[in-house]
Subunit: 330 residues, 4 copies
């Protein structure tokens, strides 16, 4: 379903080239100052227009349609919509019957019996992350003063990120990247053993973002190569500070008071130039496809603000649970 | 909470050195032949006793306490318990006040105000995965003839797995590893866009297993270094078969008919020999700890059957939803 | 939270005198023909304008903002909004500090710390049932050919319904009523023992409708006065037909193949004329209140179509679960 | 499913004549003193053995199997089992093919394809309410000092309750009743508008109890006959105290600080003596049935403690949500 969270709960909606995309945020406490203006900075970080992102220029003007009164949240659900303006549906008619490789076109056609809105990926589009980012802004307000910061640390395996993007553009190709997210100021005790471990909740929402192929916490995949004597995080003091942070700030699914650290792998954008082999959904026969539309070279460029948003959403949900707060913080 | 799943729903329970551990399986359709014997093969694969696993020898005899009548499931919840027999609680008294590095001891103490059952990790113990494995056996029956197979492919960075474990034992150290899981025979269409993407659901339950630090699907982290022209999975036929499988069998969060493939990173067991620095929870001062008890050298050895179980649990849940089955399969 | 349902899931939103009210419908299968026109008949039955309902004339024009493409549902969430046009916020300024008796004003003020949108009841308003009715139309389509019919059977204790309403208007008072809902054509097997009993699910959503004070199934409260020999529903045939229907079509929480029958008690509209005693939220002292605005004499007049909607919503959710369908129907 | 609650979450399990019945209680905060002894008083109130209840004598000895350590809850799920001892399965062989009127036998057979445990109603049995009562004891502890008291106020339409039961026994018949539940000391603000209204949550769990046919809050069905001028609860002071309590302590789905009051209708026990007409599930032809086994004359006798339990469970869940607590109470 299109809903995430228990107490701070978001539902996303809309299609890339339909009337709008948006988000419904439920469980937001009353009295939080909130205006459309507050959403613009993070939405700007997600937007296209920079080198390496699509030429589709959506203004991404958020419209708050409910849940705010006299400039403050009311306790009722907050609905935020973004009207789609710079749509070019004609460009997508050709993909109706020839699904784009590594996009969701084929599975959407099968799952929804051909009734899916195929234009620009429809409900599968990365454009729906605008709603995630808007909800993330609210979540960040709620968990203040906890600080979340995500950065793009690698593109195409290189830390010369601009160079790697430029080179992909020159090759008329696309390229993947790594985004790292760090959260400071967390109390000890968020998350639960087993099914609501913080890693479980974070990875759940992280993998809802299109294009993510992997996630790791702390030492992550490198931990698989380590000896326990090198991996173990020595405990330094009664606040739980550790000498190293191979755990990424989480033990037993629960924050341990150190920095939360995770890294995600973003695949190269699928909308490459040139001919690609695919299948014709009408005839069932092999077909060739040249993708039109306007596409990103490196979707990883837009991912940092999205990672901040989803981390904030998980934390806002966990911190809504009074009883569950860690005993030593109470 | 200790519950996972919407229609096929499992709840785990118990503590490592309490009376029992177990699992409650709800949403199991009626009429499925099931006996305690059916559970033994997979439970045997999880058990200790092999080189590199703990000397604690639990028989892991499953007791079905409800939901089965005349050898078949009744539609009521299935309760499976494992009594704890080879407990050695005395060995854990020393950790009561000196939390073991990289275990959940410190966070459990904080979160539960010191009331947690600290013996052997209590409710955080890997012993609770016995319930996951038992539920996994039922799930595998329900999704038959879909085939799931997980294998340990690396230990300590090496594919000489036995050698790497032996070497860690010789060094009186512990070591991590990589487990790879493959699922064959999936229909197109399982999973949903965004929050119930198959990656979201799988990673959610995977990270509930103690000791997992990362997960990747298909090309995974390597995708971040690739160009789109190399990454894209060319579609070969109307069944959705692709030439490569960099997507790991999932597009847009939904199975695409190819093999599902994911890999997880398992950290080295935390229960290393020798002195470790920690803190005394009573005095608040630095302390030294030598862990007693009996511990694994390489918990990754036990992880393959657990990964099969959790994958089967997610798939059984998704396949319980009749309406959601892919249109072309109906 | 403002969400109901597991697989067919609705979220309501908006405020009575804010920008809009609406509903987000998730889990609607793809391919269902749906247009705004389809919603008008049931919305018309809910509307005001008749004798005994408020003079506020909202057009209740539904706007489908997502989830429909080329006249059919896409499988993505369906967003339906109703813009508020005939608002008269000034009329509500006086209730800001003097909560209306038997309305939600006082609890809303307390729960949301005074930040609630108090105009016309805000998010507590009966106006939000427009979204329920719209979602109900979709649900009715999905459960076709099951037939749901609800009727107002009593007003003010009398079956001369028009007379009772007229009399209340003459007295410048308001009046309650009874609505009876019957569902024909249900298969055996919907609902589950204990927590997801059909009575549990129906009563859950029925009591979300403002103004409902009681619900009974089949013989209902009269059953408490009966002997078992008179109450028991003799089983007539292998289809489960019973001679009487004291159970109201449900045994053990599950449909038994007979007509589903429930009755709800609707309180008199709270917005009575004349002075009422209340408290001043600013001074904490007793105050007098004369309610302005435009109000219903008998909200029960609008309840039948709402009861049909909520019954359809519950049934659409239950019938989405393929595996759970009764064995003999499969 | 067999689970109820969001943060304080219970799952019931077992069958009437299987190995055991029980309850799994998740979300119980750590540090609550709890022993099996604490459960006995309420379990005793539910038990049979009195005039009007079945001759089946189950000791109802609760066994706490997890979640408690050193006499206090640990924060892990609490499993409580009751072994079935005084079973008489032979007595139920005759109902295997001839479903008892007004029991769940017929629907269980259909829904579970004949694989249900039919002995004594299996998973549909009132015996599973032992688990509800045990969970209710824990919930009562958590919401202390809120006071819940339920009483049987009518049997067979009469307030001479003993007489009505005796008379039913003499007639070899069964009889229904009314149970009234009152809760004192609630803060303002529990519950939410629409789908998580307190009436929604309470009625949801109340109708999971076998034999309940109706529920009403405050004036309830009588409200449908009232004029608004008589119904409205005048507000007396800033604490929200009202002159009358026709609302039953709830406005807009939220506690208003007055006494919470609801009443439920309990049907006559279905296990009447003498021949009853039914159908033979094997031949599909009409059949006659004489019920054996040991049965209650008036199940309403056991319902008060169950109503207290379910009310406490709902309140414990709502009060686990720190953020959602009413602003004026914080």
């Amino acid at each position: 379903m299109n809903t995430f969270g228990r107490l701070f709960r978001i539902s996303i909606l809309g299609e890339s080239h339909g009337e709008c995309v948006g988000v419904l945020v439920d469980g937001c406490p009353a009295g939080q100052p909130l205006s459309e203006k507050d959403l613009l900075a993070d939405l700007g970080r997600r937007k296209s227009g920079r080198q390496g992102t699509t030429a589709r220029m959506e203004e991404d003007v958020p419209l708050i349609k409910g849940g705010v009164f006299n400039g403050k949240t009311t306790g009722a659900p907050v609905l935020i919509l973004f009207e789609n303006k710079d749509t070019d549906p004609g460009a997508y008619e050709r993909i109706k019957d020839t699904p784009r490789p590594s996009h969701a076109d084929f599975v959407a056609f099968c799952k929804y019996g051909g009734y899916n809105d195929y234009r620009g990926g429809g409900a599968f589009s990365g454009r729906l992350t605008a709603g995630l980012v808007a909800a993330g802004v609210i979540a960040k307000m709620l968990i203040h003063p906890i600080e979340i910061e995500a950065n793009l640390t690698e593109v195409g395996g290189s830390d010369d990120i601009e160079g790697a993007v430029r080179s992909a553009i020159e090759n008329r190709d696309t390229v993947g990247g790594i985004v790292e997210c760090r959260v400071k100021g967390l109390p000890v005790g968020l998350g639960e053993p087993f099914f609501d471990s913080l890693e479980s909740l974070l990875s759940h929402i992280v993998f809802s973002v299109p294009g993510i192929k992997g996630i790791e916490f702390g030492a992550g995949f490198a931990a698989s190569k380590m000896a326990g004597s090198a991996y173990n995080d020595i405990i330094l003091d009664i606040g739980g500070a550790t000498k190293t942070n191979n755990a990424g700030g989480i033990n037993g699914g629960i924050t341990n008071g150190n920095e939360l650290l995770f890294r995600v792998a973003v695949k190269p954008a699928s909308g490459i130039q040139g001919k690609q082999q695919t299948v014709d959904l009408k005839t069932g026969k092999p077909a060739e496809l040249v993708i039109g539309g306007r596409h990103d070279t490196c979707i990883a460029l837009r991912v940092p603000v999205i990672m901040e948003a989803v981390a904030a959403i998980v934390l806002a949900d966990l911190m809504s649970i009074g009883r569950m707060m860690p005993a030593i913080v109470r």
